[in-house]
């Protein structure tokens, strides 16, 4: 067990190092970062441009720039946002709660809706309910979130007038549309996974044994079947955190929700490179950390994993 944890931690460190290389490379994605930061060169001379390049340290070898950046990043110093003129972590700290609020709500909604749907579909395999939930899953997985968001907005905000169009100023009412949009894919995917997992579990010997012992159908379903069928969900929940944060980029832009997603988009549009690096690194760290937790949880929940 200890060996397994150490091995996974080492793997995670390698992944994080890879992430730092990727995050640092943002500087060079569009060529010389000098031009990214200057933008319009109107009125500038070549000397001005050279002086700016030197001031920003872009005239040093790339490896030196990377090591310098990494050294600061390890100490938690991602520099100052070009746009906000504020420490990048401070900017992120202001925005992270809004995204967390969306992501956690969407994840909970996804679980609340998909678990009963998946179970009902599996128990009534081949029935109308099974087919309906699978059609819904198909639509959910194949519909882009930007389209779904706009459609929900048109229906519930513009046509029916029940909910606000955008923003984060009307409490729960403001959350409904973005959370629905963000969770739609999760609901669809989780429903399929739970259905498949339930079908597999319901065919196991121990279910037959439980039934043979005279356990009530509901007890068999919830205590014996669902409990085991939910195991793959642990993995999905871990991965969800990453996909929900990624999905927030689209949803927050559509609904003008001032969270990490919108911050990242605006950092891209505003060429705020240091802020973008901090955002990308944070997203990646969360993803790596969540997956690490999932792996550890798995070894605890299912001893077969650590035995392998």
């Amino acid at each position: 067990m200890t060996q397994y944890i150490i091995r996974r931690l080492l793997q995670a460190i390698i992944v994080v190092l890879g992430v730092t290389v990727a995050a640092f490379s943002i500087n060079f994605l569009a060529g010389d970062p000098t031009y990214v930061l200057i933008g319009n060169m109107r009125g500038m001379t070549q000397e001005d441009i050279q002086e700016f390049r030197h001031r920003m340290g872009f005239d040093r070898p790339v490896i030196v720039q990377y090591l310098d950046w990494l050294g600061k990043a390890v100490r938690g110093d991602f520099g100052t946002s070009m746009k906000f003129k504020q420490n990048n972590w401070q900017v992120i700290a202001e925005r992270f709660p809004a995204t967390l609020q969306l992501a956690v709500s969407a994840m909970l909604l996804g679980l609340i809706v998909s678990i009963p749907l998946g179970v009902v579909a599996a128990v009534n395999r081949g029935s109308f309910w099974d087919r309906a939930s699978m059609v819904l899953a198909l639509i959910g997985q194949s519909t882009p979130s930007f389209w779904m968001g706009l459609m929900l907005m048109l229906l519930f905000a513009v046509t029916l007038g029940w909910l606000p169009v955008s923003g984060r100023y009307e409490g729960v009412r403001s959350m409904i549309l973005p959370v629905m949009t963000l969770s739609f894919y999760d609901i669809a995917r989780n429903t399929r996974v739970i259905r498949g997992s339930m079908l597999e579990v319901l065919g196991e010997d121990y279910i037959r044994t439980a039934r043979g012992k005279g356990a009530k159908p509901r007890t068999v379903l919830i205590v014996h079947a669902l409990r085991n069928a939910l195991l793959p969900m642990v993995t999905l929940i871990g991965m969800d955190l990453g996909s929900l944060l990624g999905g927030a980029i689209v949803v927050e832009t559509i609904f003008a929700w001032p969270g990490m997603g919108l911050l990242t988009v605006n950092a891209i549009n505003g060429k705020d490179l240091t802020l973008l690096q901090a955002c990308v690194t944070l997203f990646a760290l969360i993803f790596v950390f969540a997956n690490l937790l999932v792996d550890f949880a798995y070894t605890w929940l299912d001893p077969r994993v650590r035995l392998k």
Binding site: L29, A30, G31, D32, P33, T34, Y35, V36, I38, G39, N40, M41, R42, G43, M44, T45, Q46, D48, I49, K83, F84, K85, Q86, V91, E94, R95, F128, A132, L136, I139, L150, M151, L152, M153, L154, L155, A157, V158, T159, G161, P164, V165, S166, G167, R168, T253, I254, F255, A256, P258, L262, L263, V265, N266, N269, G270, K271
Partner: protein
């Protein structure tokens, strides 16, 4: 009940699909969009009138009698922009949207009116010394900051000096400094200031028009970080209330504003990056004004019962540039031929409903010589010019010389809310039909500017140029030593006249020089001038407001009706 749930699900899905398919325009004839063109007048150097003190309409004066609308002095006006300010210090913000928002909180020495004509503001009048190096400004004595402190010459001096320093001398402030050539400022008395420049700067007023005056007594004690994040003090018509990054700025009417208080109480600028969301907010009444309505959504706006669209010609001009260091494009006949190969009317109809006429030279009004006609679409003329330069058409119908096909690659870069790539595709098709085997390619803007600056553009590029409304700024794109002369065009005659323009203060002589320069440009065709961009705004019908040609959402003069 069990049978109702799937039915409900189907109804909801159908409703969503129907919502998506709702008609963009009503069956009845749709109203046309009002296109506002500005008509500025010359007069960049001497004040033409005393301060243009036109207080905004009040409850008593604003309501047009025939509509019996009543202005609401306690109203909130919400403006949805793509982006808002980045921090609270205007000197470290660079976007046009931020400039407009800060202009609502600060005052300037001079200002541009809705016709982009210069008007006195805090400075009532001014003089320039014989050598053109000293400007003396006389200030109003009734301008106060929000805390009641009078705005004096000390504040102007402090502001001009502050913008030269790090970390403020970046971005747009850096650009202003390069135009300003500020040397020093001397306070003569509390309401008179002398501003010295290192070289004569005839177009100085168009630069200081963008410089907001900061209160020295507040800002001299603030660190750059504090000025960016913690506080803001101004003398403009609206006081700062709150700022949430990438979300909103809330302002409130300043009753002590020297031009008179605004006609409504609260002004909110919201950041809504997605155009469809802005349109939905306008339709539901969530906001009163939206910017950058895509042309494709014009009919949607005009079909709304509560709003309408207004399109404003702005000062940004699009053109196709040539790499003049290439032997092919250094031939004036080739450049003229390509000018004649453009059928702009077709593109204008398709993209702008006929509202973006082609330019003859890429100069803004009022300095543009309207007598110059754009080169007409004329394929016979193309053939004549190309043949004169020794080009012949090959079997594929493309121009060829010495075994080399004329196949220009044309670079364009990404820009939000712009159909420039689609327009370029149309232009490329037209050039192909005229025998130029053109190929477009698309780059991220920073990569594009790097390529332009390093002279790595092989053939041609499509680009926009936005400057002040002073002809010299527009012409600087073609000056030999300018970093924005991306095509590296050089014309000795142009350089000679341009050098005179740089030191000429007399407005009429400047106009003559600028016309002379336009004649040179027109004959030598260093670019293919295309059109002046159009900004479309959606406006609630209960709001009396017109967009500003400078593209800034200036709301001071707006009136909201009950």
């Amino acid at each position: 009940m069990k049978k109702m749930s799937p039915f409900l699900a189907v109804v909801i899905m159908l409703s969503m699909i129907l919502a998506a398919c709702q008609p963009a325009a009503p069956a009845t004839p749709e109203p046309t969009t009002e296109i506002i063109d500005f008509n500025p007048t010359l007069g960049s150097v001497q004040p033409t009138s005393p301060a243009a003190t036109q207080p905004p309409a009040t409850e008593e004066t604003a309501a047009p009698a025939e509509t019996e609308k009543v202005a609401d002095p306690d109203a909130t006006v919400t403006v949805a922009l793509e982006t808002i300010i980045e921090n609270l210090d205007y000197m470290t913000n660079s976007s046009l949207n931020a400039a407009g928002i800060f202009e609502m909180m600060h005052s300037t020495l001079v200002t541009l009116d809705d016709n982009v004509t210069l008007q006195p503001s805090v400075a009532t009048n001014w003089e320039v010394s014989e050598d053109g190096l000293v400007w003396t400004f006389h200030l109003r004595d009734d301008v106060t900051f929000w805390d009641g402190t009078p705005l004096t010459a000390e504040d102007v001096k402090y502001t001009f000096e502050r913008m030269q320093e790090d970390p403020y001398n970046i971005g747009n402030t850096n650009y202003l400094n390069t135009q300003f050539n500020f040397d020093k400022a001397v306070v003569v008395d509390p309401y008179t200031i002398e501003v010295y420049t290192r070289v004569p700067v005839p177009a100085l007023l168009y630069t200081i028009e963008e410089i907001n005056i900061l209160p020295k007594h507040v800002y001299e004690t603030l660190t750059p970080e504090q000025a960016a994040a913690e506080t803001i003090m101004g003398s403009g018509p609206f006081k700062f209330v709150s700022f949430t990054k990438d979300d909103r700025v809330v302002l409130e009417r300043y009753d002590g504003y020297w031009e008179g208080p605004a006609a409504f109480k609260t002004l909110i600028y919201r950041a809504i990056p997605e155009a469809s969301t802005r349109v939905a907010e306008l339709e539901t009444g969530g906001v009163d004004v939206i910017q950058n309505v895509p042309m494709a959504q014009l009919s949607t706006i005009n079909a709304m019962p509560n709003a309408s669209a207004k399109a404003m010609i702005n000062g940004c001009r699009m053109y196709l540039g040539f790499n003049h260091e290439s032997p092919i494009y250094s031939d004036v006949n080739v450049r003229l031929a390509m000018n004649h190969a453009i059928d702009w009317d077709t593109i204008n109809q398709a993209f702008f409903q006929g509202n973006a006429p082609r330019l003859a030279v890429h100069i803004n009004k009022p300095w543009r010589n309207e007598a110059l006609e754009p080169y007409p679409y004329d394929l016979a003329k193309v053939d004549e010019l190309m043949t004169a330069s020794g080009w012949t058409k090959n079997a594929a119908g493309y121009w060829e010389k010495d075994g080399q096909e004329l196949a220009p690659s044309i670079m364009v870069y990404y820009a939000q809310s712009s159909e420039r790539y689609e327009i370029l595709l149309s232009l490329v098709d037209q050039l192909n039909k005229a025998g130029f085997k053109a190929e477009p390619y698309y780059l991220e803007s920073a990569a594009a500017f790097e390529k332009l600056d390093k002279r790595e553009v092989d053939d041609m590029f499509m680009i926009g140029s936005c400057t002040s409304y002073e002809g010299q700024g527009d012409l600087s794109d073609l000056a030999a030593d300018s970093a924005s002369n991306y095509g590296r065009w050089r014309n000795d005659e142009f350089e000679e006249v341009y050098a005179q323009l740089l030191t000429e203060f007399d407005v009429e002589t400047r106009r003559e020089l600028i016309y002379q320069l336009q004649d040179i440009i027109y004959a030598d065709a260093p670019q293919i001038p295309l059109y002046v961009m159009i900004g479309v705004w959606g406006i609630n019908n209960d709001l009396d407001w017109s967009p500003n040609p400078a593209g800034r959402a200036l709301m001071y003069g707006a009136v909201k009706y009950k």
